[in-house]
């Protein structure tokens, strides 16, 4: 909480614009277990916002709630001013929120090309799709090399690239990334995070869930810290990087 109070009024976060995505006091339960409790957060256009926290803190649950795979028990998910609470997952994609899920969930037995086609499943604008496809292949040149290879035969890093590329082909305004660095070699983690920066430069707002808090805070503008389902801390990412309590808890600092 300390950071929030010190930072009484975060100076013009989002440059006076309305948040593109907003969670208003959502609580999510699996049966009788509450995974996320009264969580509120805002994501402003053009930002990289990261949601960090330890295992089981409710980060993935939050993303799944935003993308319509889970329904919050209470609270509201607001996207571009409209509530999307209870809107089914496939509709949320159409509205402009794409989700690159935890564990990648790529279609293993399909080729890279087919996976990308499915990323654009909801879209009809063929020319723009071809353009976007070209764009993501620029972002991930390695995918172009493997375009006709079965996705399941690629390495973990390539599969992760595919998962992000596939989500981008949905032409999202907000991209939800769940643990893009999980299980990757350090070199590849760097590649992925550089790409996230470039994705933001192309005008896509990113909500990034990470266990690798250090890497996430380094590229993010703003950060929220979840602790067993509740928000324990928030603030500009740079500030959290300097916060001794964050360093101690999540960055393995001294």
């Amino acid at each position: 909480m300390s950071t929030t109070t010190e930072q009484a009024a975060p100076p013009a976060r989002g440059g006076g614009k309305e948040p593109v995505l907003e969670l208003r006091g959502i609580s999510v339960s699996y049966g009788s277990i509450t995974a996320v409790r009264d969580l509120s957060l805002e994501v402003y256009p053009g930002e990289i916002v990261t949601l960090i926290g330890s295992n089981g803190a409710g980060k993935s649950t939050t993303l799944r709630t935003i993308s319509g795979l889970l329904r919050p028990r209470t609270g509201d998910v607001v996207f571009e001013g409209n509530s999307i609470t209870g809107v089914p997952g496939h509709e949320v994609v159409k509205r402009g929120i794409c989700h690159s899920p935890e564990g990648r969930k790529i279609f293993q037995r399909m080729t890279v090309s087919e996976n990308l086609d499915l990323g654009a499943f909801t879209r009809k604008d063929k020319e723009k799709i071809a353009e976007d496809r070209e764009n993501v292949l620029e972002l991930f040149p390695r995918l172009r090399e493997r375009i006709d290879q079965k996705a399941g035969t690629m390495s973990g890093g390539e599969q992760q690239m595919l998962a992000v590329a596939r989500a981008l082909l949905g032409n999202p305004r907000v991209l939800l990334l769940d643990e893009p660095s999980m299980g990757l070699a350090p070199v590849l983690v760097d590649v992925i995070f550089e790409t996230i920066e470039r994705i933001r430069q192309q005008g896509v707002t990113v909500l990034l869930v990470e266990q690798n808090a250090l890497a996430a805070l380094e590229i993010a503008d703003y950060a929220y810290v979840l602790e067993s389902g509740t928000l324990s801390l928030q603030g500009p990412a740079a500030q959290l990087l300097d916060d001794p309590s964050v360093t101690a808890a999540y960055l393995g600092g001294h």
Binding site: S67, L69, P88, G89, H90, V93, K94, C98, H99, P101, G103, R104, K105, I106, F107, Q108, R109, M110, S113, E114, D117, L118, G119, F121, T122, K126, I129, A130, R133, L137, P141, R142, R144, E145, I147, K150, G152, T153, M154, S155, G156, G157, E158, Q159, Q160, R166, A167, G170, M182, G183, L184, A185, P186, V187, L188
Partner: protein
Amino acid sequence: MATTTVNSKRPGSSGGLQVRGFTDKYAWPLGYVAVILFLFLLYQAILPSLITDVSGPVLAWLPVATVNECLMWAIMALGLNVVVGYAGLLDLGYVAFWALGGYTAGWLMAYPFNWEWDFHLFSPVPADAPGTHINFWLVCLVAGVLCALLGILIGAPTLRLRGDYLALVTLGFGEVITQFFRNSNEIAGFNVANGDSGISSIDSIGTGVLGATGIAPPLLTNSSAGNVWKILVLGLIVGGCIFVSLRIREGRLGRAWLAIREDELAASMMGVPLVRTKLLAYAVGAFFGGVGGVANASGITTAVSPSGFDFGKSVLVLLMVVLGGMGNVWGVTVGAFLLSWLNSNGLKQIGVQSDALFGTDLAATLPRYNYIILGILLVLMMLFRREGLIPEGRTRALLKTPSRTEAESLGADSLEAAAETEAVERADPAADAKIAASAAAMAGPAGDATSSGDSTTSPGSGTQRKNSDD
């Protein structure tokens, strides 16, 4: 260089799932028509003109009635393939649609048991014949639509279930339909479908102009002439089913089905509406099943009764799909031909031959053990060729291609080669360490084709990190 060539290839294929050349595109319709025409000519012209020493064995091993039965089962297998092979939904009650299709033929193409009115519509039977007589093709359409609706009705509440639960519900549904027809002579005081005795004397397929001009028999009864012409009619339906199966698969809907089969959650994240897409798979499969039911009732048995629609039939169709190669239209068709041949004539003929050659007594018993034999066949297939006789391309590729390792993806393969030459040239201990590290990084995950990326990458990255610490 490589990038530009790949790039120039892309635009053409980005729309569809597969790039298919001109010859590929027209190869199958031509080949298929050739096969069906050959079968027709074989029984129509070639065999009758041969001496019985030659034609006898052919007719014994593959009588024309069996060919028709095979074609009819191919319709069923292709239908179930849409549900099981494409969308990955296990349906153990597929016989229900076959039954409903058959009974639709019974209702619309026979002199019913208790209905008073007469109604004729483009039917080849004499105009003064009592009862309802509607054209075969129209009945196919009606039965297909009826079954599709029933499929949606049943699917809507059950398709939200996953895997085993869905299988159990469909199994129950198959039984319910049979029981419904079994008790159909007394439903709310009405005789709906004549109960246990079923409906008999269902109209045969008419031949329209061909029949009127005397080229073909006007009614394709179970006479030998009728049976030969039925090859063309059933062949046409099977061809239609194959065409629809292939086209749907290349399109948006087919892509959505494959996505659901691969990973439901991921499919929904791509914007695939799960329930609607699954319902469509069910509806299309049910449509084929209904048409198969009409083809069977009108073309093969000319009668329907509840005892013909047992659980075993559902299993038989499923076996055709699994043995043939789930998801592969040609595999499924071959599976249908093989199993229905074994089931209707093959086993008997093997028994007869064995009796003649070895003095055994199998001609009568072998066909009765059909399910045991088919079961053994299934077990053997699962042991030695899990993907089916003609597997779907994507299954085959993943079973055969080894997984790329993290080290390879980093370009470590070239690093390793460079390090190796360096080591040989200079006998440098540092290069040795490099090779050892990259070899270790690759040894762990290599060859583990099916496991997820997570498990393959972690050992690799661990080793590398250790190396850099050193």
